[in-house]
């Protein structure tokens, strides 16, 4: 009786289809802790009170044991100071969290989102803003935000040229930093043109992450900035008329560089961490990172040669700030706000900048701090692979995000398939 079997099968499908709905009614929360109050009108004390006892799910990249350890310390601190349980949701890519929020929005989950806080910047921020996936503006509510002195430090409120408009709170700084093995490289290149000469003298010992990895894209942007006559043009959106003329020197440069790269430019490392691994394996002699203290930290962790040294190109390199943001449907907004505020506290920022902990540069403006706090921030251990703070003063601004798209597309068309 196939008909009978089919009927049973269909009934079963209907039963299983209704099961999740049953769960939904059982599991849907009774408390309205995610309900949106007009947060701006609520005083900070009441936010802290509301945050008590909340569990904050912080979705953050989990690829670095040092960063993970720091986040564990933050969790201990907010537990004892604010009675917040902070859980680090370790991701291999922030995009996973963006997917989650997107799926929740698609499904109409507007107040009980599973992501409370997210570590991001640049493209992920732009994408979330464009699709209204973020809560805010909220930074003005954070008591510690004023310590960053946003009026005098425009990078605090601009993310890849895009104004943050209070939708993300600064956490740390990054600057493109090259590092090399001083035992193999006596005079490292200090400009993009010198890099080309160096590569032809040392073929196969340099590479950059495959586009569209963000570090690879940063390398393209840095090269473009050093090759264009007037870098100011890059701060504006791409103009279809002139784009080919502006990018032509970059593609010429890469055409010459690629045969001199590791694996003859036929294969690229997948990411910055893989680039670092290749340095550790001795396959490369020169590489770069976005975290100026990463070389020192990873020499200590046995991942890079003890003879590793860092450098910044003449004329400076690209730099940016990384942020934390709160999804529009975060269930524990109050808790997330309190954690974001704690991350900006002098205590948390000092510890983060300590090279023995993480070494991520602070976003606080030392003018806003008292003498003891300033002294604590300056008091960081020295390491031969670490550049002095003065070397990190020449920071180039990120080009307008529309250039990212153009460069990535151009690269993939030219070199993405050989």
């Amino acid at each position: 009786m196939p008909g009978c079997r089919l009927a049973k099968f269909l009934i079963c499908i209907i039963i299983s289809a209704t099961l999740p709905t049953a769960f939904a009614t059982n599991l849907s929360p009774t408390a309205t802790d995610g309900a949106e109050n007009n947060a701006a009108s609520v005083s900070w004390a009441s936010i802290e009170a509301q945050a008590q006892g909340q569990t904050v799910y912080w979705n953050a990249w989990g690829g670095s044991p040092t960063v993970n350890r720091y986040i564990r310390w933050v969790a201990e601190q907010v537990a004892s100071r604010y009675d917040i349980e902070l859980i680090h949701v370790k991701l291999d890519d922030a995009a996973t969290a963006v997917s989650r929020v997107l799926a929740e929005k698609s499904a109409g989950n507007l107040t009980h989102g599973s992501v409370d806080l997210i570590w991001l910047n640049g493209e992920n921020f732009a994408a979330m803003r464009d699709n209204d996936l973020l809560y805010g503006p909220f930074t003005q509510q954070l008591p510690h935000f004023s310590l960053t002195n946003p009026q005098d430090n425009p990078e605090i409120t601009t993310d890849f040229t895009r104004p943050t408009e209070g939708f993300e709170s600064p956490w740390g700084k990054a600057q493109l930093t090259f590092y090399y093995d001083s035992q193999r490289v006596s005079s490292p290149p200090r400009s993009m043109t010198a890099l080309l000469d160096w590569a032809s003298a040392n073929p196969g010992r340099f590479s950059y992450p495959r586009i569209p990895d963000f570090l690879g894209t940063t390398f393209l942007k840095q090269t473009l900035i050093s090759l264009v006559d007037d870098p100011a043009v890059l701060t504006h959106p791409v103009d279809e008329q002139s784009v080919d003329a502006i990018t032509a020197p970059l593609w010429d440069y890469l055409d010459t560089l690629h045969p001199l790269l590791w694996r003859g430019g036929r294969h690229f490392p997948a990411s910055g961490p893989e680039l670092k691994q290749l340095m550790g394996d001795g396959e490369l002699s020169l590489a770069f990172t976005f975290n100026p203290s990463e070389p020192a930290a990873t020499v200590t962790a046995y991942q890079l040669p003890p003879s590793t040294r860092s450098l910044i190109l003449e004329g400076g390199t690209l730099g940016n700030v990384h942020f934390v943001a709160i999804p529009f449907n975060a269930r524990h907004q109050a808790g997330a706000l309190v954690v974001a505020n704690f991350l900006l506290s002098p205590d948390a920022q000092t510890r983060k900048q300590d090279t023995t902990v993480w070494g991520d540069p602070t976003v606080l403006d030392s003018q806003q701090l008292n003498a003891t706090q300033q002294a604590a921030l300056l008091n960081t251990a020295e390491h031969p692979a670490q550049l002095p703070a003065t070397a990190l003063e020449q920071v180039l601004p990120e080009p307008h995000p529309s250039w990212t798209r153009v460069l990535e597309k151009g690269w993939i068309t030219r070199y993405g398939s050989r």
């Binding site: 499908i13 769960f23 690829g63 370790k90 989650r100 396959e283 991942q303 993405g416």
Partner: protein, 581 residues
């Protein structure tokens, strides 16, 4: 006792429950897969209101068609899937042909079963470290033999032909296919067939190919299809060993899916559907070759020649299997060395000094992931075991096997590339408000665990001598009693192995855990993947080794426990020895 009732009019609770099992199982498998697929069909046609896609269009497909290197991506997925499956199958068959029923055979079987527990990504990382220019092989030869003071610059792994990818896949699929063959051999009366052919003067390899293989192949066809589907759609091995300009199609789809530019989600959905087509194409090509070979080989099989390429097959089968075991073990040893390494520069072949620092550092944070891995693994395996045994018991009650379409549904999660339906499934999970967490993850794991459990258990269950049950029934035992007191004890060994396989599959799951659990349930595998994105090979090695400890323990228990039980039972029940033998 009601056992005297010899003409049961109404079936008991047990029988009714068992009869329901296949229906529940099929529903549980079909619904998520179909729902997941539906969840990506809409975006593939431009429909995803949350991203502003509010009208149907073919734009995602046009964008997909214009992707540079798309043809190469497709052909890479196709060829790596087909070639790796063909090679694995050839190695397994050559080996069985040459060594069936010898001591070598039992030795290899013992060596390969634990290797099955090695997670795919761990095996790939191990192989990459072994064969890369700065890898272990090159270090052992440098600088004394090769003259290399710095690593050479050859393109492997990541070669444009996908050779590294294919070898990585072969390494992982061969143990799996061998285990499947081992389960199927008794089912097709291989021993008897071999004896008859041998008595007619056929030498071992010819006897196997001409008399056993025609009976064996139909039984392992589905596992072979599962291997092709996995190999053509896999992400974790391809991302480590595969080429990058361009990558294989599934890797590209995963990149689009995780790109910060959310408008690429439409492209990713179209790509996932295309991947489904590529996997289907790979299976169809294989099926066509099967048909072709079957008709070509008929004449050859009955040509009466008794000795054909005997030495060659013996030599090939032996050396290929040996090379495989050697490579896998060397990859694991390499990982073990990295896990205790400090600064370990090229060309040093041994890490020095060694330190347990990385292990200590990791163990402080291993506790919770360990507990999650265990509880999810146990629950998913238990659920899958209940459903599978229920389905198989239903077969015996109905005295006929599940229909072939039912079997196909059971294997659906293996045949459909996970990238194609997991993202869609997450969408539905949120839609229905099934909260992300333990339960959702367990159900998600069951999707992938169940087919493997079915693969490992079904043949042994079906070939259990029906006379045991008949005897029990004749003595007045009800079906439930026959099941609990006769069948389950007799099946203890294969049930143990199936559970171990299922547990190993659960331990290795990354995407279902992270997507359905909203990343909140950290397991050994999710931590391992997150940490390996940081590029520290020492930590990756520690996690990979921990990751494979649990399944390896599972296999050890599965193989050791029944033997132990038997030893304890036999002295007390000497008279019943044949029963438990």
């Amino acid at each position: 006792m009601a056992a005297a009732n010899l003409t049961p009019v109404t079936p008991g609770v047990f029988t009714r429950l068992i009869r329901l099992m296949p229906v529940v199982t099929l529903g549980l498998l079909t619904l998520p897969v179909v729902a997941g697929l539906a969840g990506i069909i809409a975006p593939a046609l431009g429909w995803l209101p949350a991203l502003g896609g509010e009208s149907l269009s073919l734009a995602p497909w046009q964008a997909l068609g214009q992707t540079p290197g798309l043809g190469k991506m497709i052909s890479l997925s196709l060829t790596s899937g087909l070639i790796s499956a063909a090679l694995s199958l050839a190695i397994v068959l050559l080996f069985i042909a040459a060594f069936m029923e010898t001591a070598v055979f039992r030795l290899v079987r013992g060596l390969l079963s634990p290797l099955l527990a090695v997670p795919h990504s761990a095996a790939a990382i191990g192989v990459a470290f072994l064969l890369a220019p700065s890898g272990l092989a090159s270090r052992l030869l440098s600088p004394w033999a090769s003259g290399w003071a710095q690593p050479p610059d050859y393109l492997f792994p990541g070669d444009p032909f996908g050779l590294a990818l294919i070898s990585g896949l072969v390494l992982k699929e061969t143990p799996f296919l061998l285990l499947m063959c081992l389960a199927a051999l008794p089912q097709c009366q291989a021993s008897q067939r071999l004896k008859v052919a041998r008595s007619m003067g056929y030498s071992p390899a010819s006897a196997f190919t001409k008399a056993v293989l025609p009976g064996l192949y139909p039984l392992i066809r589905l596992p072979v299809y599962a291997v092709i589907a996995f190999a053509s759609a896999n992400v974790d091995v391809a991302i480590i060993l595969g080429p990058s300009t361009p990558p294989t199609l599934p890797v590209a789809v995963m990149r689009w899916q995780t790109d910060p530019d959310l408008s690429l989600r439409f492209l990713a959905s179209a790509g996932a559907l295309l991947q489904l087509g590529v996997t289907a194409a790979a299976l169809i090509i294989w099926w066509l070759i099967e048909q072709l070979l079957a008709s070509l080989l008929t004449c050859w099989r009955i040509n009466g020649k008794r000795h054909q390429a005997e030495q060659l097959s013996r030599w090939l089968g032996g050396s290929l299997i040996a090379a495989l075991i050697f490579l896998l073990s060397a990859a694991l040893i390499g990982l073990a060395m990295w896990s205790v390494a400090t600064w370990w520069p090229f060309p040093a072949a041994w890490p020095s000094p060694v330190s347990l620092g990385t292990w200590q550092q990791a163990t402080t944070t291993l506790g919770e992931p360990f507990r999650h891995t265990l509880s999810i693994g146990f629950a998913a395996t238990a659920l899958a075991m209940v459903l599978v045994i229920g389905c198989l018991e239903a077969e015996t009650l109905r005295t006929r096997a599940l229909s072939s379409s039912a079997i196909t549904i059971i294997y659906l999660p293996l045949l459909i590339p996970p990238v194609a339906f997991l993202y869609g499934l997450t969408q539905w999970q949120v839609q229905f408000g099934l909260s992300a967490g333990w339960l959702a993850v367990v159900l998600g794991h069951t999707l992938f665990v169940l087919p493997y459990v079915f693969l490992s258990l079904s043949e042994s269950y079906r070939r259990l001598d029906p006379r045991w049950s008949q005897l029990g029934a004749a003595l007045g035992a009800k079906p439930s009693r026959v099941f609990w007191q006769i069948k389950l004890p007799l099946m203890a060994a294969p049930i143990g192995v199936a559970a171990a396989v299922g547990f190993a599959v659960s331990v290795g799951q990354y995407l279902p855990t992270i997507l359905l659990g909203a990343g909140r349930l950290a397991t050994l595998t999710t931590d391992a993947v997150a940490l390996s994105s940081g590029g520290d090979r020492r930590l990756t090695a520690v996690y990979a080794l921990t990751q494979l400890t649990l399944p390896a323990l599972g296999f050890a228990l599965a193989l050791g426990l029944p033997r132990l039980l038997r030893q304890r039972r036999s002295p007390r029940h000497k008279k019943h020895r044949p029963l438990s033998a």
